[in-house]
């Protein structure tokens, strides 16, 4: 799996940045709220005022807060947060990623992944292709919805974006990784709730792996058109399941 670049947690200010960042993103500190003063934060966390100031700089760089002389530091609304920052995404609690973010993410995936698969089949080097295969093999080895499975699934999709050779797509893979994994988890949790029975879940997982394998095969065979089509079919299956889950939820409510 690719190393996701997160802000170093080592050191007092790094630790504090992660702590306060997570509280803001999870909603424990509300949007628009005024943060406690530097002196208060420094006392509460046993950090120097210098460390507090540096932690707030890090959060400001990610669009989470805005510091003004005299007025203090305020939490910015969610629309200002840099949702493409790996730390910000990682700070979302897995079961509380806002549904509109998941919907927007899927819409973007539908636009980009088939073309990335096409490009990967057309121009990926062997290293990039083997990375995709390694992720697929990990999915097959794990074989059931679990943290390891979602991680392998994420690195499969991330691998295709890297293999596309487009630096912008690659960057999307890097920043969306954690959000993508979270969305898989939310998705499978929904499928399990909606379908319930073990054998039905089993066949949903099997279907998903077959579709992933079809995308990989087309890329490995250097068949761009088939890669595009296989990726579209994979996404269409996910979409059907999402609709099914949403419908199931509406009916059981």
């Amino acid at each position: 799996m690719r190393q996701t670049r997160l802000y170093p947690i080592a050191g007092v200010h790094g630790h504090l940045a992660h702590e306060v960042g997570r509280m803001i993103v999870s909603g424990a500190i509300a949007q628009g709220a005024l943060l406690p003063r530097e002196a208060e934060l420094s006392e509460k966390y046993g950090a120097s005022r210098q460390a507090v100031r540096e932690a707030l700089k890090v959060l400001a760089a990610k669009g989470l807060v805005l510091s003004r002389r005299r007025a203090g530091t305020r939490v910015l609304p969610r629309a200002s947060w840099n949702i493409f920052d790996p730390d910000v995404v990682a700070w979302f609690p897995p079961d509380r990623v806002p549904p509109d973010v998941l919907r927007d993410l899927f819409e973007m995936r539908k636009a980009i992944e088939p073309v990335a698969a096409y490009r990967a089949a057309a121009r990926a080097d062997t290293v990039a292709v083997s990375a995709i295969r390694a992720s697929l093999e990990r999915m097959i080895a794990v074989d059931k919805p679990s943290a390891d499975f979602f991680e392998a699934d994420e690195s499969f999709h991330d691998g295709i974006l890297t293999a596309s050779g487009n630096a912008m797509f690659d960057q999307m893979g890097q920043v969306f990784g954690p959000l993508l994994r979270t969305s898989f988890e939310a998705h499978f949790r929904g499928v399990i709730l909606a379908l319930g029975k073990d054998d039905v879940i089993r066949s949903a997982v099997q279907r998903s792996m077959d579709r992933h394998a079809a995308v990989y095969d087309a890329i490995a065979r250097r068949d761009p058109e088939r890669a595009r089509k296989a990726s579209e079919e994979l996404l269409a299956q996910i979409e059907t399941e999402i609709e099914y889950v949403v419908k199931g939820r509406a009916e059981s409510a």
Binding site: Y7, P8, E54, V58, F84, M108, I112, F169
Partner: protein, 221 residues
Amino acid sequence: MTHALGRRIAAGDWAEGERIPDEAALAEAYGVSRQVVREALKVLAAKGMVVSQRRAGTRVLPRDMWSLFDADVLAWHPLDAIPARTVADLLELRQLLEPLAAARAAGRGDQDEIGRIGEALRALEAAEPFTDAFYAADLAFHLAICQASGNGLVTRLSRILMPLCDSIGRMRRPEHGAVDLAARRALYEAIRCGDANAAQKLLADIVDEGHPDRLDRPSLD
């Protein structure tokens, strides 16, 4: 201080992996306190451009670690040093996302947002071609469409990529042919009338006008 250092790193004043001068030296060179230097370095670290290690000092990270999707990082790049590859990659991304945004904007029909697309269009039609006002209105037109899509990720991405899109948009000169204003007017009408298919197709053609093959840029394929 952050901007000054960011620009120097983006311009390649220090190579990837190279150690930049220490806090004391930077503070003296820029006539600021060490505290200011330290905070600037924290911001650059948060954007993935440098890493500071006790004793080893601060090093420039490889470019593929930088937050490319960060408006500051993009704005710090010198305008004349955008590689052709980046132009092509960006265009490919826009080619996928903007038609989607146009279709969604048409389907959603938020009249306030659509009104803003109309305003940008009128500014574009009124501007003398290839002047500052013209480039600015063209950019505003595309941003308004992304905004009207209602997809928060697309909107956010369009704002982040704006400085880069602006620099690339300004490479467009009269010798590359006239800008098709009628197509932009038709696009606006399609969005206004809720015709998602037409909107999607019209915007795909418009984005294609900026293809590297049609600008003063080496072709890639």
